[in-house]
Symmetry: C2
Subunit: 146 residues, 2 copies
């Protein structure tokens, strides 16, 4: 399916169910999903989806991942209140990665920072590049885990 799509011109359309059932999930039935703020382009996080999480996200317009640590659906924001509304959903050329353009309410990161990518390699040092916008205790109470 994805090999066939490679040669097609812009504007070509295929039924969504036919394409989604060909997604290449890993051995655990999961696919990585990049979340990007739709208007600023900031990459917020990477998480994982199973087919059920993807279907729910498309059906509701609110992003739902699969938590590998909890082994359960993870409706982003259920605990923290910081939800992601789906703006558009994109698949890559070989069908093994998703790109979600989202509208993120407040911080995406469980540390209270806007983006999870707040560490930057600066030659010999790794530098913290942002401060939390909201204290994690405010987001999660005493349990600051993801």
């Amino acid at each position: 399916m994805f090999k066939q799509l490679e040669g097609e011109p812009r504007g070509e359309r295929h039924p969504t169910p036919d394409v989604l059932e060909r997604l290449k999930l890993n051995a655990d039935g999961l696919i990585p999903a990049i979340a990007q703020q739709h208007d600023t382009g900031e990459v917020l996080m990477l998480a994982w989806m199973n087919r059920e999480a993807l279907d729910e996200t498309l059906a509701t317009g609110r992003v739902c991942y699969y938590s590998r640590s909890r082994q359960a659906l993870w409706r982003k924001g259920d605990q923290s209140g910081q939800v992601q509304h789906l703006h558009s959903l994109h698949l890559d050329c070989d069908g093994d990665t998703l790109l979600l353009k989202v509208d993120q309410t407040g911080p995406a990161c469980h540390t209270g920072r806007r983006s999870c990518f707040y560490l930057q390699v600066d030659n010999d040092a790794v530098v913290v590049t942002s401060d939390p916008e909201i204290a994690p205790e405010t987001l999660y109470g005493k349990d600051t885990g993801q």
Copy 2:
């Protein structure tokens, strides 16, 4: 290490080797790496790195991945000529994903398109959203594989 970094303020620094050795690689020794064009914010692709690929990328400033299909280092552009120069490298909060801000020469995608994310879900249809900038035959000869 990453749990400790969560509470630190902007500007805090830690030796790069100490942080990189704590990266959470998967069972295959790999970590997902998102490539984003540094100035436009366009997400170009997701690929994987092992520690050797990461070290080479930081040492040379030219992005090197690990090809899961070929099970070998994949110096982006060696075949196609479309290289990625590293602009900055970022780690996420729990040390299991990399974000590479890059300067991509020409198309990032093996199909000849600028970005690998050229398929978009539009309700009942998945739509091809861009055309190749360069024919894959020009990039790879008859072998259009990644």
